[in-house]
Symmetry: C2
Amino acid sequence: MTVQENATRARVVIVGAGFGGLSCAKALAHEPVDVTVIDRRNYHLFQPLLYQVATAGLSPAQIAQPIRAILRGSRNTRVVMARVDAIDTARRRVRTQDGTETGYDFLIVATGARHAYFGHDDWETAAPGLKKIEDAIEIRRRILVAFEQAESCADPADRKKLLSFVVVGGGPTGVEMAGAIAELARKTLKHDFRTIDPSDTRVVLVEAGARLLPAFPPRLSEAARRSLLRIGVEVRLGVPVTACDRDGVTVGSERIDAATIVWGAGVAASPAARWLQAEKDRLGRVAVGSDLSLPGHPEIFVIGDTASAADGKGGTLPGLAPVAKQQGAYVAGVIAARLARRAPPPAFRYRDFGTMATIGRGAAVASFGRFGISGLAAWLMWAGVHILFLIGFRNRLTVLLDWLWCYFTFGSGVRLITNTEP
Amino acid sequence: MTVQENATRARVVIVGAGFGGLSCAKALAHEPVDVTVIDRRNYHLFQPLLYQVATAGLSPAQIAQPIRAILRGSRNTRVVMARVDAIDTARRRVRTQDGTETGYDFLIVATGARHAYFGHDDWETAAPGLKKIEDAIEIRRRILVAFEQAESCADPADRKKLLSFVVVGGGPTGVEMAGAIAELARKTLKHDFRTIDPSDTRVVLVEAGARLLPAFPPRLSEAARRSLLRIGVEVRLGVPVTACDRDGVTVGSERIDAATIVWGAGVAASPAARWLQAEKDRLGRVAVGSDLSLPGHPEIFVIGDTASAADGKGGTLPGLAPVAKQQGAYVAGVIAARLARRAPPPAFRYRDFGTMATIGRGAAVASFGRFGISGLAAWLMWAGVHILFLIGFRNRLTVLLDWLWCYFTFGSGVRLITNTEP
């Protein structure tokens, strides 16, 4: 059964309702096409704030919005909640797990990425990554349970292990997680325990490379490192993780006992390359041409974290929300031009409006080309931009209020331990 | 290992941090006692609004607050997150699942209740009850997935079944659930689908008794029934459920095909009676004396939904939050009087300040002794009282804003389908 039956209009199928997929669907809202957006979730996730769910600062619903609600006004767009398991590029059909096939004239693959364990997939149980809401709830559960168990733990060594947290990966996710755990322990939980002192918490951030935030200028990497030290995070640079289990990690030759480990290192693209039988790079990303189409398949586009697109300087574009958004809108333009038999737009070019990362409450780094700032000014900018880009006015308002409330009171936040039973 | 070691002060152990347990702990905050509150959760749940989580109106964190944060100011109180599995009334010790034993001089058992399936526990898989956050998230998932599946369902009979919802039980939970599902379908989801029309949804409320809300005066029961009919809920009175499975329910001789069934009928107390080897009533509740103590054990008190306490009119007190709260404070007074060797307070007497239930947006019934109101005035009163009693200023503010936002926009709410994967 094909979902789209209208033969007079071009059928566009978008797989994945992340930043790239949604931006493409919205840009096609008034084009003469029938759009089907397929996602295995019913919501779009604002991933840049997912670490705040994992550290009990925000609720899942504050950073997620139903895809149907976002696309309510796009009358040419259908939303299907289903898991894609194959793409037949010869017959131009997308198959979902329930056996349904959806035909397309244009296909956009925007299925994102997951964390990579560099050949150590067995580490995932001990050190979960942070990509989905369920990941964040599980990490939140582990962090909060560690404090609860430490409170009623009689053995000093066990208690020390329970109050030790290791974050692997010095990119934005790792830096933000480490800062947020340190603040949770030192500020939010400060007065809530009787036996332990949460400020005895040890937070270690481990990065195999020479500096934190490698995508930022070295000066800001150093500012981030200093900000982390100031709130009590230990930073290990230039040493890779060589072992990882439920009792801790080995970093170079150093063993760190820790009950809670969070993985924020490395990305690996979704199975899109396999579906498309396409060439993939080291990170599993699909190599695309200058118009983001799959070589040999001008009707298939791959965007966002799933794509390996040239950055015009000999490298490839990073996996960032603004890249995916701009690519989604660009592809919509390519499709519209083809249907209207206009000249295609010039090759895709990413316009970098800046990159930011936070380090706990009131500190951040922001980089805009050659210009970079750090400290409170960067944090205020970070907060403003993130609230602005949050989808849905209601979410913006509640997140803003929660932040203000927590900022002035070191409030208790969203400290729920759920899903503790099978 | 005993948790409390201070031999000079009386040790009070409270099992359960619901309305009763918390009210008791707070009333003891300035008494010369060491209090230990044991709960298997790290949060207190505002159960009267749980149905709003199940129908995607509120987030779990908006109706739950960490127990530690609530009792932060009670310096004589320790909070232990653990599951009690036995009570040794001879040695005066509470044992938790991890093997820890906590000695007590006074024990308060306030462990609440669960839904009862009247000997049909196998119905629970098909018709989950609504007592825990996990229950609410699971019911929300089922409701939202039903709409998603209906949208891509080709078979008309299957689609009809997916869009049919049965709520069992005509008490406040059932009435509120049925009203909220009807409004979700007819208002919130109205414009979000392309194949189905969510207002084709069928919502059936089934009550074995002769009228809805049996705890209210008959006039208000009838007002509630009419309000439900007005928003499109079918009400079946005087017929019991005789069969229940994943495809629907049989009510008397009528078969209702429905993909989603919610159980709001009957309560059964927690295993407290077994722990205490005490006499229990038909609902599993522990019979208590006029000072809420266990007969033969003046040092053990049972309160809230767990207790079967005389109402002074020949019956027993209902399982309501205000009853539990007043009992918790009363027991604290009894303990304080005994320690101070003062005369004990007179027998516990429940002061009824009124009972309320909502029927969707903008309608409710409220009963105050002989005085009763229904309609919008009752709804405004219901909303005011519930926000006022929500623990935590931050929760009050965000719930108020969410309600106002949803009221004026029929906003999309908290429509997240999570925990879909193992």
